[in-house]
Symmetry: C2
Subunit: 412 residues, 2 copies
Amino acid sequence: MTFIDGGVCAPKGFTANGVLCGIKKGRTKNDIAAIVSETPCAAAGVFTKNLVKAEPVKLTMKNLADGKAQAVIANAGNANACTGDEGYENAKKTAAFACAALAAAGKSVPQDDVLVCSTGVIGQQINIAAIEAGMPALIKGLSGSGAGNVAAREAIMTTDTKHKEAAIQVDIGGKTVTLGTMAKGSGMIHINMGTMLGFITTDCAISAAMLDAALRESIEVTYNCVSVDGDTSTNDTLLALANGLAGNPEITAKGKDYDAFLAALNALNVAMARKIAADGEGAEHLIECQVTGAKDDLTARNLAKSVISSSLVKAAFFGKDANWGRILCAMGYSGETFGQAGTSVSFRSAAGEIEVFHQGVPLVFDEDKAKKVLSEGEVAILAKLSDGKGSGTAWGCDLTYDYVKINGDYRT
Amino acid sequence: MTFIDGGVCAPKGFTANGVLCGIKKGRTKNDIAAIVSETPCAAAGVFTKNLVKAEPVKLTMKNLADGKAQAVIANAGNANACTGDEGYENAKKTAAFACAALAAAGKSVPQDDVLVCSTGVIGQQINIAAIEAGMPALIKGLSGSGAGNVAAREAIMTTDTKHKEAAIQVDIGGKTVTLGTMAKGSGMIHINMGTMLGFITTDCAISAAMLDAALRESIEVTYNCVSVDGDTSTNDTLLALANGLAGNPEITAKGKDYDAFLAALNALNVAMARKIAADGEGAEHLIECQVTGAKDDLTARNLAKSVISSSLVKAAFFGKDANWGRILCAMGYSGETFGQAGTSVSFRSAAGEIEVFHQGVPLVFDEDKAKKVLSEGEVAILAKLSDGKGSGTAWGCDLTYDYVKINGDYRT
């Protein structure tokens, strides 16, 4: 497996673009993106578990029901959530405008093969006139080179300070298969589904059912292990489109090829999960919690998630304070069981590693060294249990003044 | 029912005191409190559901197993949590020192009728020498007048900016029954058990079993509906001691007298729940979420709890931003179901009431008026559903820079 450049345009047969159509007053970044495959794709998606689903989520779930798709339209600046029938009609119109523009460009794509995603403020009707006006230029500018990709990844950013993309190549069935991805997500991020917008393209030949299985398996150990602030949004969507142009024998069942695909997908999604946590709203530190020695992997993952979700742990990292008691506390209320007497806790970063709790007993440790370890941009919490061989990792970020500032006045 | 002064000393036969014994370097407030009944009490307690329980919690659970107690010793400055066998021995020693000092003052109290509670930093051994040295003065100064009460309520404060106490009188079986309480709690507060230290005294004659039943019933609609930051602590304890000196016919079963006692207990605990939320770490606003029209009371309460636990809702209140979309979002991920199309949302405070979402449809509203309503210290969110007759209330506070500041450097 090798990481490469190119994001969603890295796999064969995918083009992308982004333009600024004016959905939100004052925005100067691109605000609408398109990803289009030259051929129909097997497609899968996972969606927010929030009962209050945004209108485009409802439409996209419907359009995905047949396991096929060919294009994605995603906008920032308005979530089109809590907007009722008018909002749902606007999501449908967005797909219709895309079809018309694609037809004008000589590409015939059925309207129910266009998936629509939105992100931004909740509870305001979307500026559909701006979307209609911007669609022809968006589609006309589709490109499989760097330009399309770069324009698209910017168009889905909201409070993100960095664009987030990755691409990876893996050998499957004697062919080079490529997977690409881009995502947005900075606040309203929590461990319950993808909690952001994410798009995965691949030229792998894989059935819709296997793509769906791989996607669901992968998010359990990647996107579902990220938390910024404990809020599961109304718009979370992670889509995967596979057009088969790599020419590998189609993956239609579990086995060696499926495993190779899943491994590449996991590597891709872990890279993105880390990027999302590191760019959490206001974040100064990426916090990775690695739990080992748990009774099983699920227990380990749930313990790790509880730690990185704790406001008090997060605030302590902001203060570079080795307050490990809060880590034990968060493990304790995770709902999982573990043997406290066999538990040790260390902190590790580029500045070194320091143990603070050993086999159930507090250690006297060098506070200056601890502060140095915690001052790095990326810090790992290592919780070593003595209950078994289960391991799991979760990613979060610190809680800062800027998180409060960003969210104290986001809407107006 | 009438609220009166006097806190835990308001009921007949209870004395209290607090002194500064020097558990934590630099603390100038009292740091250890005692509450003692002149006669043995029926006693009940509810405790943290955190798997990682502080050592005094373990001891107090054991000492309460027989439904009897007569004294409580509570300290701030050190939680005596994650401190292993040495910590447990120190909790036992604390009870032993109290017994010895009580005996010296002519009061014979069995050691297993002394309950011990601690709050403060996790993971450091407690200064047991300071406790031993301070105990004689603590016990000698016990008083049933205002002075004892005032000294005790200060001794359990950590980051609390205000002491928290209440007392209430109610007629039961032709006698005036008094209930008193004090509590601490500002951070690491979440809806899962009492999430703080709280002590309830009463002169009501009530069996330990009925006291336990009333306590468990009451916390469901009071303490368990408060969240400051989503962290359930290792030390949460709410204790109730009833010495029977009011002379009412002993309550030994459910019925009219039990209901009267429960109503008074609920009123007392609601008053304290509001005080705790209002004094949440860094809080500038008390947020009360009232859900009505839900399919049942439990659903309403869970929806309300989800709203006041949301970091994004909390940050919006800090910014006085009428971002109601986040309220719908938090209701949506509560795990409960409700009809979005029949839902309306308003904000209400001393400055007026403003509706922002009506029967599933966003309203265009006066932003200036909304800002005025949200600028008050106490703001209610009214979520009116159309699913039934269930109602429930939860209490929280806004998320502020000061919360981050307080918790970024609490330990050192």
